[in-house]
Symmetry: C2
Subunit: 145 residues, 2 copies
Amino acid sequence: MGAKKNYNDILKNRNLKVTKHRYAILESLEKSKLPVSAESLYIELKKKGISISLSTVYRSLEALYKKGIVIKSILPDYNKAVFEYNHNEHRHHMICIKCHKMQPVTGCPLEEYEKLIESKFNFTVKGHNLEVYGYCDGCESKTED
Amino acid sequence: MGAKKNYNDILKNRNLKVTKHRYAILESLEKSKLPVSAESLYIELKKKGISISLSTVYRSLEALYKKGIVIKSILPDYNKAVFEYNHNEHRHHMICIKCHKMQPVTGCPLEEYEKLIESKFNFTVKGHNLEVYGYCDGCESKTED
DNA sequence: TTGGTTGCAAAACGTTTGCATGTGC
DNA sequence: GCACATGCAAACGTTTTGCAACCAA
């Protein structure tokens, strides 16, 4: 909360070597308001003039995901994984059924629910995954199936 | 509720032709306590002596999913889709990080949250997706990373 | 120096599709 | 009979991997 951690520290703290690529990926993700796919991140980095291969993007994202630095999710109608920086502030998303846009929502109603599950079943809760589906502002009017 | 609907009616009501395969798939899913992948469903049907191809399983599941008869989800660490019968009773799942077992949990804490989102953003909520991750009964003891 | 990281191309994987055939209504 | 469902094999798009070269520590 006090001193601003840089990406190097984040990587070092989780025993990941600091490389240009990982730094760039982390920076991109942290600045992005929305979750991105490996490919779009790859394209974005290329545009910035960074020389990187798609497999490195995949490998880095997987490493960051395994360390909990980024969050990975796959949506049923968009058959690829998307990644976002884990802000640890517990953010969820609203996903538009029509245009697939994702917007973050802060605030999470699940604390009590998790406690309930822990006590009711013999299950140690470590986290959860929540997305809300519907029609966003722009698509609302154009509804009709 | 009152009269027990059979699978034929479920299909007919959604304008899907009744076929042996769809019937068998629906029956399998409805009886299954846990979400299953297309392939495991395929294997299960084969074991029952039903002659079916994997693509039919995929096509049927997709059709049922599009009609809202089944629920489709993809988990970040298990890179394939799983399907479950939509009991309309709003069930969520606990997923074990270690053994990947999924168990249903009834009860959903999200009604108020959805209302909040609808009023706060201009977003028409149509549904949501929630999974809780952690260690199940059996894996709890073996924890350690 | 050394073990982790990268690029490339090829492989793997789950899933989708084209087309000819079969089947429900 | 006709529109839709199916089987098969081939195609697809995303993700993973083997290997040699590279680089951070």
